[in-house]
């Protein structure tokens, strides 16, 4: 394994130290691994908190700032943070108007966030939970349900904008739910990432094969398939997402996302074919984002997230955002 790290055990802490050094506009509690806005919670604003295992950067710590999250909480690599830390993030975000927990749908994340919510409620903080479960690669019945992946970015961006403009808890939750329920994702990998503590790729993928339907924790996918031209892979990915995307007559926000080790050139190649594919099917892309945002360590792979967006959601997508990893407007 070759990584720019000091030791597998210190990776998360050392990266947070770097984040703190680079971003004085963030308050980084290195002991609790909580990243919040240095400006503190704005009285009367609904607080937005997310978090989860590390290894998905810039998600979520890179999305803390005006227009997006109030606080994020980083767990060990691929392990949900513990309730006490999520509680600390919740406290940092609480400003009297309640806090939304944006939780990617994994057993561990659900359990730890639920326990934290319970503790926060005991302290008098109103907490609402919005679950992100967008990955169509996994079954959604009688199991742990769909995984939360790229849609987290869209949920955090739009709900963050709604909170920023002063909406109340119910209204922020409504936007977050709308974005979450309107989004679907699918990912393929060319090579698995390496969890530092294990030192070896999460799975071995022989030459000429892609892993189709991978998760963002090195979970192997639905199937192995031959490596095909980007055009065909993009079509297959779009097919998978569209098969399960709500069929409303709305344009989409399209996120073509690198899983950590995929160069931008390749992401744009994929985006071009996704755009062609959607055009063929008469689906308009109202907004797009191409880049490396929701990652899985150094996985070479790409994910597509589509979110059906009405004008209200598009307006929130367009609203100003000032975070380390996402800034516009």
């Amino acid at each position: 394994m070759k990584k720019f790290l000091n030791a597998p055990e210190t990776a998360v802490d050392d990266a947070l130290a770097g984040l703190a050094a680079a971003h004085p506009e963030l308050a980084v509690d290195r002991a609790l691994r909580v990243v919040a806005r240095a400006s503190g919670a704005r009285p009367g604003k609904v607080g937005l908190v997310s978090g989860g295992g590390s290894g998905h950067e810039p998600l979520h710590t890179g999305f803390v700032g005006p227009g997006m999250l109030d606080a994020a909480c980083a767990g060990e690599i691929f392990s949900s943070p513990t309730p006490d830390r999520i509680l600390a993030a919740t406290r940092a975000a609480a400003a009297g108007a309640g806090v939304v927990h944006i939780v990617k749908n994994y057993t561990g994340d659900n359990l730890n966030f639920d326990m934290a919510a319970e503790l926060a409620r005991e302290e008098g903080i109103e907490v609402a939970k919005v679950t992100v479960a967008d990955d169509v690669a996994v079954e959604d019945a009688g199991t742990a349900g769909r995984r939360g992946t790229g849609a987290a970015l869209i949920v955090e961006k739009t709900a963050g904008a709604r909170a920023e403009e002063g909406a109340d808890l119910a209204a922020v939750v409504a936007v977050a739910r709308q974005a979450a329920e309107s989004s679907r994702s699918y990912a393929v990998a060319l090579a698995a990432g390496t969890v530092p503590t294990t030192g070896r790729p999460s799975f071995e993928l022989p030459d000429g094969l892609v892993e189709s339907g991978v998760g963002i924790h090195g979970e192997p996918g639905r199937a192995r398939a031959p490596l095909r031209p980007a055009r065909d892979l993009a079509a297959a990915i779009a097919d998978a997402v569209l098969a399960d995307l709500p069929r409303r007559n709305e344009p989409v926000i399209a996120l073509v996302n690198g899983l950590g080790a995929t160069p931008l050139m390749e992401l744009y190649v994929v985006y071009g074919h996704v755009a062609e594919e959607l055009a063929h099917r008469g689906i308009a892309i109202a907004r797009n984002l191409v880049g490396t945002y929701v990652t899985s360590l150094d996985t070479a792979g790409v994910s597509l997230t589509l979110c059906r967006a009405d004008p209200a959601l598009l307006r929130l997508w367009d609203a100003p955002v000032r975070t380390p990893a996402l800034r516009w407007g």
């Binding site: 060990e76 057993t107 359990l111 730890n112 742990a144 969890v195 294990t198 924790h217």
Partner: protein, 214 residues
């Protein structure tokens, strides 16, 4: 017929901590195959913290019940992932069901039975879903069936049952937890959580052999 006192629970926790640390790589390898490759690391870190909490509780002369509650809390606040809240809740719930300075086989069966119920409620998994429940439930059943056997012997039977339950997960298709994402591809792999559960029951059995006079 020995009973479980705080000293014995402390030895159990140390034994479980040692077992988890010794099997860290194996647990992580199992989790790499059908999960995300952190179960060994999570549990090593968590049980190390739980051992410290256990020493503190023992030093304070805490009874087994509150002792397990403290240890469960330490697991919850140090493991992360799915296993932390699940194991932590099991121990906390079991602890709440224990009264007094010692517990015999029947009392332990009741306490761990309450823990199992909490585990099933929290995680929603039943036997056959390829989770730690597959090792935990038969272990509790064995303890219950051994209600009038000496504790050390009952614990051995529970550990045997847990290990059999652990092995029974291999041919299963996962319906809960991260392995469920794999669908049919989860078949043929032993569940990491069931494996760690079997380690914890074996640690109980072995620690009782040394600590509980018959």
């Amino acid at each position: 017929m020995g009973e479980l006192d705080t000293a014995a629970v402390l030895v159990w926790m140390h034994a479980a901590t040692a077992a988890v640390a010794a099997h860290e790589a194996e647990l992580t390898a199992l989790d790499t195959a059908i999960g995300d490759g952190d179960h060994g690391t999570n549990l090593r870190r968590g049980f190390a913290a739980a051992s410290l909490a256990a020493e503190d509780a023992a030093a304070a002369g805490t009874d087994p019940g509150p002792f397990l509650i403290a240890v469960g809390g330490a697991l919850i606040s140090s493991v992360g992932g799915a296993a932390g809240p699940l194991y932590g809740t099991v121990l906390r719930t079991a602890g709440k069901a224990l009264e007094g300075p010692t517990a015999d086989t029947a009392a332990l069966a009741v306490a761990l039975g309450a823990g199992l119920d909490a585990l099933r409620r929290l995680g929603g998994a039943e036997v056959g879903d390829k989770t730690m429940v597959d090792a935990f439930a038969p272990a509790v059943d064995a303890l219950r069936a051994a209600g009038d056997l000496p504790l050390a012997e009952a614990a051995r039977l529970a550990a045997d049952a847990a290990e059999e339950g652990m092995r029974s997960t291999t041919p299963l298709r996962a319906r809960k937890g991260r392995a469920s994402y794999l669908g049919d591809r989860s078949i043929g792999h032993q569940d990491p959580g069931a494996t760690s559960t079997a380690l914890v029951f074996r640690a109980l059995a072995e620690s009782l052999t040394t600590t509980v006079a018959t």
